[in-house]
Assembly symmetry: C2
Homo-oligomer: 728 residues x 2
């Protein structure tokens, strides 16, 4: 029977019978147990003998779910008599739900897994794999991948399990057949893609036999034919492409506007935000500014207009900063006057969680949709584009740079750009604070930035997303050439609650987002500070060969800490080869200088050229991929005769000579400065500037530096794996 | 048969038979399966019928280990015939190792656990509990406790399992009998304590039956009678007490010396450390200083002496700063001249990992032991005691304070004291940097600090420890009145390698140290910064009722982040009661001020008294235990008309009025300042001082603040649990 016929049989049904479920799954490459159906005792016995004892008997029927709990599964039946008794018991216990008995061989294998499919609100069909059997829920060792799955995704699921040891040779049983497992997981993925009416699949247990063979022993398939209709209305590809082109064009206009109208241009007494008109003027916006306010003649030196209709021309961007209840009227005006590009600054919509706000948002969404408006917001800070001299918040750097940022929070948009600029001298290309995402969502901005020449790295702050699958596809694509660094909020329970009240978007579960990160290769960070730190490294290093680090510092405690920190984030600190140690010993004096990895050698910080020689030598060692130099500023200051210049000299040496000797392998500096001595309190800033010039990322403390390297390593491992996979 | 007879039977043996192992365990309260032994087929069948089918047959014999792998366990035997076949098979397969067959009922239960006992090099007998059955090693869900176990420890082991759900009602089976589990774990503990010759015990599986009953189905006991002798030579209690009294007296003299001799007083060209004599003089040490140097007349203005023999008196402290190879001679001089208290600054001993260093350390250890010397070091920075004006490193605060620090690393000793002083104004009482711990180990310093009136909080940086059990007992005791905050390095693999090379002490495994922290209640931190942050909170708050936090801040992104951070560290952010929300709404205007938890209300930061009213109101809510105020300094500055004074006013208000309205519930401030604006760059320091005066801890960023509260909560939960347990 073909899949579609099987599914169509389910008309009006909730579940397929176990037998039909397995036929369906076998069509998608899932190895299922051989089985047959008996409707009377003697037939059951005959079939059991054909299969060979021991066998398993199960009640069969469309309404027979939770068979184990109902006692309708009898395993390890070893004789005719046991089969007969089991048959009678099941038939009696199942009552009117009984349609027959399923007879299977007793599959032998200690290892029980679970595989499945379900539909996530944001990401659509999602495949699950994990430890099965009775412990499934109690232990919860399961991983997810968003469909469609590649072979790499399927193999990755096996790697990600905590109990992955069970897939190798195990207590006398052979390693699991990875090909069969891959087929099973990719088959579930394909089923999910091809049949939107399949809502859920549960294969539990999926047994690994003694010889490593994989067998689905029980399966549950849930069908919902009503859902299938809704889910099947996929957007037309051409329509989708046209939409992208239109949005890209609109965003290009909005980020390079020649004229802006600001509605609600007067500072409201109830809000404490700096006035937008003020910000634009201060930032030197060179285009035309039209304040809209019917009550005044002039505002901030500009002629004021009573409404959009009275403007001399349609503008490139309308900014709305009025109380929420006045916004629908303005939106209608925008449609009527041909002003298509709107940024709604105002809050008071869906994010309030209150009825009135939700209603207002639905209302403006309808107006925007019908009128073809492109809307950033509501409930957001909007745009910051240095090259166009536009900003909606004050005190921004006027320099343009390589980092773009897409943020659901306006506060975070400001904080990230300020932090990255202050501590790492990183300037922004384009920043979008988009709040409730009325028409333009994170994916739209990402699509735009993908083709923006100025942007080399993209940061995102996400609470939720409307179309998770589009986000995944897009990030996966963009990330190949422009690292995408994502701070995903609301992965925890409380966070999730605050998210749903903050922007009114339902955030997905943590495990699904883990899948998103594993599949997209996006760099996951936990804070805005980390996003800045990681950006710094990605801007400096295009390559990273592996996860093996050499640390050069001073002090036993620091060495131990370096080793601990590396281990925590999965970096290796390989032992130095005897040959390298011998060569190092030739120019590093023995007293108090310990040659191992981490290298603990004060002398290198008093004769910088020794540091250069050390790096040059280590860069010839094939088992080292990256270098960390630890600068203990307090110690250096005290022990160089309180000589600040000496420390600056070391920094300069690292930024020039030392850097050039590492043959392009990543080199970072981590520093510590705890003493409160005015002469050195400014040192971190000073050496930061020196190192920045030389392209050496620098971090406050080991933890941050080592964490950043781990993200760099993971990114390049992912990209290399993808390449290998494509080339296979 | 009594335990000692059973064990004595094991003379010359490695393993007890399964049957004897279970008899031994049952004597210690472990519920074991009823079983009997048969040595012929008919007997086996008869006994099976008495037990009732199905039964289990196992080969029995002193040399029969790994029975499952050898196929000597036959389960689920349902008839005379199956028993007969199993008996024949086992007897044949076991060959000459066969001594009989063990017959047990087939225990019914889906849930298999494992319990055991083993001896750790540092901590002695340790009890294990975890998920059992075939998955034990593959999943590794096991926890440990150091013997002796209290009831609370045993119950804690169950709570700490990831798979603890299995101990509740589970798929139609009843919750596990906790009393039996507790008996099992405490019994293993007692067995380990009473019988040092029992090296290992493995109970696997320990089955939870359908009715919740606990049954040990298989057990392995490993005996080593030779070990027992070595392990049994416990120190005499009185001797131990006398040693403590002597050490406390010596440490009292060393921390309050009237005279100090410094050997190696001249700055060595090969070391970059500041000279100790110089440090002592600069710090204003008021006692007598005797430089020892045969080559000069005077040093730093002090008369120099050729050796210890030429001194006019024995001194309270001898500091040795000579190359390692010269140290043994000096140690002998110390013994000969009656100079008992020595600090060996010199490195080059066991920490080098080289033969010569290890030999030298053994040599001086022998001299110290025979001569009754009290030695701090070698390879350490030594002492910093502000009240006595002694320090071995420069630029220390001359103020005495409540925080003591015991550190295996000299660098960390300096960094911690500087950081805590600089950022939180915390001064030190006594700091011990003790390096290789020749005679005085961390436990000795802890014992001394326990009775030091000046010390209110004790920080420790540990790489390894010689006597883990003494550390556990001591920390558990001291921690009740003086919080003990521990940074344990080398918990990871790489870390562990660096540790063993750094101070030559074998560090224990991570799981055992987890047990140490769970049992001692010590506050575990990951960095010196965190140790300072946590100290700040512990110094301010003596009480903490629970883990429920209210956050007051501004901005949606911040609210989401606060919820995420709290959730990560296990704190709750309960929803506000409708009544509280209504009352808050009475004085907080609606526009842009969202009343929920986290509270997102800008108005509170423009009218500080509203903040006070809010705190007062929330302090009457029974479901809130702690308060966090988020100060976004950039935002406050921009939105208060760039008014620094306004921000200082808020800080002052929080430190005085707001603090007083929280009724003693912990209140902390977390701040963010990212903008690089000279006028506000100093603000964190300024508001820090204001808040410090009012006893309000303040943290750079949410993560740190919330983390600190979680440590405070855990500490008080532990202490309260201990009290409840004692009172039962």
């Amino acid at each position: 029977m073909e899949p579609s016929s099987l599914i169509s049989l389910a008309h009006g049904m909730q579940y397929l019978t176990e037998a039909k479920a397995k036929i369906l799954l076998s069509r998608y490459g899932v190895p299922v147990v051989e089985e047959s159906i008996a409707t009377n005792e003697n037939d059951a016995i005959k079939r059991s003998e054909v299969i060979g004892f021991p066998v398993v008997l199960k009640g069969l029927g469309t309404n027979l779910t939770h068979k184990t709990e109902r006692g309708l599964v009898k395993v390890d039946l070893r004789s005719q008599e046991e089969v007969r008794q089991a048959f009678r018991y099941i038939k009696e216990a199942a009552g009117t739900d009984w349609e027959g008995c399923l007879i299977q061989p007793m599959i032998q294998g200690k290892r029980e897994f679970v595989a499945g499919l379900y539909r996530d609100a944001q990401f659509g069909p999602v495949v699950m794999f994990g430890l099965g059997g009775v412990y499934t829920e109690a232990i919860g060792d399961v991983v997810f991948r968003i469909a469609p799955l590649s072979r790499l995704d399927a193999l990755g699921m096996m790697e990600d399990l905590s109990s992955r040891k069970l897939l190798s040779d195990f207590r006398g049983e052979l390693a699991a057949n990875r090909e069969q497992l891959t087929q099973t997981l990719m088959g579930l993925s394909q089923l999910g893609i091809e049949h939107p009416e399949v809502m859920e699949v549960d294969i539990n247990p999926l047994i690994i036999e003694r010889d490593g063979g994989v067998v689905a022993v029980d399966a549950l398939v849930v069908i919902n034919k009503d859902e299938s209709v809704a889910n099947n209305t996929l957007p037309n590809k051409r329509e989708a492409m046209e939409r992208i082109i239109a949005i890209n064009a609109a965003l290009d206009v909005m980020t390079h506007p020649k004229s802006i109208a600001v509605i609600g241009a007067k500072r409201s007494p109830s809000t404490s935000h700096r006035n937008i008109l003020d910000c634009l003027r201060d930032f030197g916006f060179p285009g035309k500014l039209y304040p809209i306010n019917p009550n005044v003649e002039k505002l901030y030196g500009y002629k004021s207009y009573p409404d959009l209709f009275s403007l001399p021309e349609p503008v490139d961007l309308v900014i709305v900063s009025l109380p929420a209840k006045l916004v629908p009227k303005i939106m209608m005006d925008c449609v009527a006057t041909g002003n298509k590009n709107v940024h709604i600054f105002s809050a008071g919509f869906k994010e309030t969680g209150e009825e009135e706000g939700i209603r207002l948002q639905a209302e403006i969404e309808e107006i925007a949709r019908k009128g073809g408006l492109h809307v950033i917001g509501p409930n957001c800070m909007g745009l910051y584009v240095p090259e166009s001299r536009i900003t909606m918040w004050p005190k921004n750097s006027s320099q343009s740079g390589p980092l773009a940022f897409i943020s659901q929070s306006g506060g975070h948009a400001q904080d990230l750009t300020r932090y990255a600029h202050r501590y790492f001298g990183i300037n922004a290309s384009k920043v979008f604070s988009f709040g409730n995402a009325l028409t333009l969502d994170s994916t739209d901005f990402l699509e735009y930035l993908a083709q923006d020449d100025e942007t080399r790295i993209i940061g995102m702050y996400l609470e939720g997303v409307k179309d998770g699958r589009r986000l995944l596809e897009l990030v996966k694509k963009v990330n190949r050439t422009k690292p995408v660094i994502i701070l995903k909020a609301g992965l925890t329970n409380f966070g999730a609650r605050a998210v749903s009240s903050h922007t009114g978007v339902l955030a997905g579960g943590k495990k699904i987002w883990n899948a998103f990160f594993r599949q997209s290769g996006a760099v996951q960070v936990d804070s805005l500070e980390e996003m800045s730190e990681v950006s710094m490294a990605f801007l400096q290093f295009d390559e990273c060969r592996g996860r093996r680090v050499a640390v050069i510092g001073y002090g036993g405690g620091v060495s131990v800490a370096a080793a601990d920190e590396c281990s925590k984030v999965g970096l290796d600190i390989p032992a130095l080869s005897p040959d390298a140690m011998k060569k190092l010993r030739e120019f590093i004096p023995p007293a108090g200088n310990i040659i191992r990895n981490p290298i603990d050698a004060h002398q290198l910080f008093f004769e910088p050229d020794l540091l250069g020689q050390t790096l040059e030598l280590l860069s010839q060692e094939s088992y080292l991929d990256m270098f960390v130099i630890f600068l203990h500023l307090d110690w250096l200051y005290q022990n160089s005769g309180q000589n600040r210049e000496h420390i600056e000299k070391i920094a300069t040496y690292i930024a020039t000579e030392a850097r050039s000797r590492t043959k392009g392998r990543p080199l970072i500096v981590v520093w510590r400065q705890y003493q409160d001595i005015p002469e050195i309190n400014e040192l971190p800033t000073v050496i930061g500037q020196i190192l920045l010039k030389g392209g050496v990322p620098f971090y406050n403390g080991l933890t941050r530096g080592v964490n950043t390297l781990s993200k760099l390593v993971k990114y390049h491992e992912f990209q290399n794996n993808q390449l290998v996979n494509i080339n296979q």
